[in-house]
C-alpha cells in the first residue's frame, strides 16, 4: 500500500511537470503589427451630433431588418446596442452630475490581432484584405466561441433564426470592392466618422490632438489597446465612460496562443508523450503476462 501510494504520487508529479515544462520554455509569440494596406475608421465624439444617419445607412447597405423589439415600442428601429439586426449603433453616455454628455458609435474594431480570428475553429472569421476582419458563413458551425473571445462584445449571433449566422461589421468590404466608402462614413454629415488608410487616419488623429489639446482626452483609443485596432477613437470624455473597459496593450490571443503553441509546437510534445505512454504500457503488459 505504502509503496503504491508513493510511486503513484511520484508518477503524477512527473506527469504534471511534463505539461508544465513546455509552457515555461515557450518562446513569446511574435507581436502582430498593423498590415501595410490597412484601412480603418476614425471616430471623433466632438463632431458627432447623434443623427444616426450612419445607423440607417449601415442597415440599408447590409440589408438588415429594423429592430422593432427594442425600447422603441414597435414604431421605431431602436436597438439597445449591437445585435443580430444591427452592425452599427449610436449610444449615449450622459452624466448630469459630472455634466458630461457624449455620443459613441459602436461597431467592429477590426483589431490588429483579433481575438475572434484566433478563436474560430475553421477560420470563418479571417483578417484579410486591408486588414478587415471578414466573416464567411460557409465555414461557421455556430459555436459562438468568437463571442466569448471578443473583448469589445462585437460579434452577435442570430438567435431568432433557424439557420443562424454571426453578424458583425465588415467595413462594407463589398462596397469597398466597388470603389465606394463604407456606408457609415459616406453618409456622416459632419465627418464625425471618416474612412481612410490607417496611417493617414492615425496622423489625422494626432494632428487633431496637437491642434486642440484642451478639446479632447489626450489619447487615441485603439492605437495600442489590446494589440491595437484599425478603428480609432477620439473623445472629449474618458473612454471608460463610453464603454471601453480595457487598457492593457496585450492582445487577447497573445497569452492563449503562447500557451497553446508552447505545448503543441510542431506537435512534438504530444507525439513524444504518446511514445512514452505507449512504450511504458507495452512494457508493463509484457511484465503482467509473464
Amino acid at each position: 500500500m505504502h509503496t503504491d501510494r508513493r510511486s503513484l504520487f511520484k508518477g503524477l508529479a512527473a506527469a504534471a511537470t511534463l505539461t508544465l515544462i513546455p509552457t515555461t520554455d515557450a518562446e513569446a509569440r511574435a507581436k502582430r503589427t498593423v498590415p501595410d494596406d490597412a484601412v480603418g475608421l476614425l471616430y471623433d465624439t466632438t463632431r458627432c451630433i447623434g443623427c444616426k444617419a450612419c445607423v440607417v445607412a449601415c442597415k440599408e447597405a447590409n440589408e438588415k431588418p429594423a429592430d422593432v423589439d427594442g425600447y422603441g415600442g414597435g414604431l421605431y428601429d431602436a436597438p439597445e446596442g449591437l445585435n443580430e439586426y444591427t452592425k452599427n449603433v449610436i449610444q449615449l453616455y450622459r452624466d448630469d452630475g459630472a455634466n458630461e454628455v457624449s455620443y459613441v458609435k459602436k461597431q467592429c474594431m477590426h483589431c490588429v490581432d483579433p481575438a475572434c480570428v484566433g478563436a474560430c475553429m475553421l477560420g470563418a472569421l479571417q483578417k484579410g484584405k486591408f486588414g478587415i476582419v471578414s466573416y464567411d458563413p460557409s465555414l461557421c458551425v455556430g459555436c459562438r466561441y468568437c463571442e466569448a473571445a471578443c473583448p469589445f462584445n462585437v460579434p452577435k449571433f442570430e438567435w431568432s433564426k433557424k439557420a443562424p449566422k454571426i453578424v458583425k461589421c465588415e467595413l462594407c468590404r463589398t462596397r469597398l470592392a466597388e470603389g465606394k466608402q463604407p456606408a457609415c462614413s459616406e453618409v456622416c454629415p459632419r465627418g464625425a466618422v471618416i474612412y481612410g488608410r490607417y496611417d493617414s487616419l492615425l496622423a489625422d488623429a494626432r494632428a487633431r490632438l496637437a491642434a486642440e489639446p484642451g478639446k479632447y482626452v489626450p489619447h487615441i483609443y485603439g492605437e495600442r489597446e489590446l494589440g491595437g485596432t484599425q478603428v480609432l477613437y477620439l473623445s472629449h470624455v474618458p473612454f471608460e465612460k463610453l464603454g471601453f473597459r480595457f487598457n492593457d496593450e496585450q492582445s487577447v490571443p497573445h497569452t492563449q496562443q503562447t500557451v497553446q503553441h508552447g505545448v503543441y509546437k510542431g506537435f512534438i510534445a504530444p507525439i513524444a508523450l504518446y511514445g512514452i505512454l505507449g512504450a511504458v504500457a507495452f512494457r508493463n503488459r509484457r511484465k503482467q503476462d509473464e
Partner: protein, 368 residues
C-alpha cells in the same frame, strides 16, 4: 394644332403668369420629370412653349367630379384660364357648353381630329357588375365607351383613386363591381394618379410631359409617376420630428393636437401612403392639406387603405427608422427567470441531499 407658346401669344396671356405656372410645375416635380429638369422657370417655359398644345379628352365614369374640381379650384382665376390655354380640353362633360347630341358630336369630332394624338384623362371608377349596366352614357355603358375612346388615345391617364383602382365605390361590398382604368384598358400603359383628389399640378405635369417628350414620366409598379408617388407621406411629413421624439396628439383638441404634434395615434395613414401631399399642398395655399390642418392622413391614394382601414386605426410602419432617443452605453441582456433559478435550486439541493443521506446510510451499514 399650334404650339403652346403660339396659343399663349394668341390669347394674350402674360409672360409673368406663364412663368408663375412653370414655377409651380417645378415645385410639384422637383425631380423625376424631364420637363422640369432645369434650373430656371425660363428654361422650363422654353420647353413647354415649344410643345404642341395637347388635345385632352376627359371622360367621367362613376365619379364625384372632385378631380375636375381640384383642377378648377386654383386660387387665381387667371391661372385657371391659363390651364385651358396650355391644354386643349376638347371634351369635358362638366365644363363644356354642349350637351346631349351636340356633346356626343363634340366627342366624335375631337376623336377624329386628334386621332392617335389626344390624351385621355379618365375620372371615376368603371362599374363592371351586371355587364356594366350601372353606368350608361348616351346609350352605351362605361366599359365600351372607355375602350372605344381609349383605343385612339396617345396616352391614358387615370385621374384620382377611383380611376386608378376603384376608389370609394369599390369599398366593401363593391356593389357595382367598380374597378380602375387599367383593369379595362390593357392594350396601352395607363398612368395612375391616385388621390382623392390628387394634386392638379401632378396631372398637368404628366400631361405636359407627354406633350413635350411624347413619353410618360417614370412610373412605379402600380403605374404611378415616381416624381410624385415614390415617397410616403411619413417620409416627408413636416411633423416627423414629433413622431421621432414620441410626441403624439392623443385626442382632437388636446394640448398635443393644438401644439401640432404627430397625428399617428389618431390614425394617420402617412406611413403607408404614397402621395406628394406633404410637400405639395392644395389650392395653392400653404398647409392646405389634411395633416397641415390637423387631421390625420386617411391614405386616399392607397388601395387597401383608403375607405377600407378605419380612419382612426393606427397604421403599420413600413420601414422603421431610429427614434429621437438613444440607448445607453451599457447593454441590456436577457432577464433571469426566477422559475429556472428555483428549479435548479430544488434539483441541486435534492441531489446533494440524496448524496449525503446515501453516504450516511452506507457508513452505517459499513459499521455494522
Amino acid at each position: 394644332m399650334s404650339t403652346i407658346a403660339q396659343r399663349l401669344k394668341q390669347t394674350g396671356t402674360s409672360r409673368r403668369d406663364f412663368m408663375t405656372f412653370c414655377g409651380k410645375l417645378m415645385v410639384v416635380a422637383p425631380f423625376g420629370l424631364a420637363i422640369t429638369d432645369f434650373l430656371t422657370p425660363e428654361a422650363v417655359a422654353q420647353v413647354i412653349g415649344a410643345a404642341r398644345r395637347p388635345s385632352v379628352i376627359w371622360l367621367h365614369m362613376q365619379d364625384c367630379t372632385g378631380c375636375t374640381e381640384t383642377l378648377l379650384r386654383t386660387s387665381q382665376p387667371d391661372l385657371a384660364s391659363l390651364i385651358f390655354d396650355v391644354i386643349s380640353l376638347d371634351y369635358h362633360e362638366t365644363v363644356m357648353a354642349a350637351s346631349g347630341h351636340d356633346a356626343e358630336l363634340a366627342l366624335r369630332d375631337a376623336m377624329k381630329q386628334n386621332d392617335g394624338k389626344y390624351v385621355l384623362v379618365v375620372e371615376g371608377s368603371i362599374p363592371t357588375g351586371n355587364q356594366g349596366a350601372y353606368l350608361k352614357i348616351a346609350g352605351r355603358n362605361g366599359i365600351d365607351m372607355l375602350r372605344d375612346v381609349g383605343a385612339h388615345a396617345a396616352a391614358v391617364i387615370a385621374m384620382g383613386s377611383c380611376a386608378s383602382w376603384g376608389g370609394v365605390p369599390s369599398s366593401n361590398i363593391n356593389p357595382t363591381g367598380a374597378t380602375g382604368v387599367d383593369s379595362i384598358i390593357k392594350s396601352k400603359p395607363v398612368v395612375n394618379l391616385p388621390g382623392c383628389p390628387p394634386n392638379p399640378y401632378v396631372l398637368l405635369a404628366t400631361v405636359l410631359e407627354y406633350a413635350a417628350t411624347g413619353k410618360p414620366p417614370k412610373l412605379d409598379a402600380f403605374g404611378r409617376p415616381k416624381f410624385a408617388y415614390d415617397r410616403t407621406i411619413h417620409d416627408h411629413c413636416p411633423r416627423r420630428a414629433h413622431f421621432d421624439a414620441g410626441r403624439f396628439a392623443k385626442q382632437f383638441g388636446d394640448e398635443g393636437h393644438r401644439s401640432g404634434w404627430c397625428l399617428y395615434q389618431l390614425g394617420c395613414k402617412g406611413p403607408v401612403t404614397h402621395a406628394p401631399c406633404s410637400t405639395r399642398h392644395f389650392n395653392e395655399v400653404v398647409d392646405a392639406w389634411p395633416i397641415g390642418i390637423g387631421h390625420p392622413c386617411v391614405g386616399c391614394t392607397e388601395k387597401g387603405i383608403a375607405f377600407t382601414v378605419p380612419l382612426h386605426a393606427t397604421a403599420d410602419i413600413l420601414r422603421p427608422y431610429p427614434p429621437d432617443t438613444y440607448p445607453n452605453v451599457t447593454a441590456e441582456g436577457k432577464r433571469i427567470s426566477p422559475l429556472a433559478t428555483a428549479t435548479a435550486g430544488v434539483i441541486g439541493g435534492a441531489l446533494i441531499g440524496a448524496g449525503v443521506m446515501a453516504s450516511r446510510s452506507m457508513s452505517k451499514s459499513d459499521e455494522e
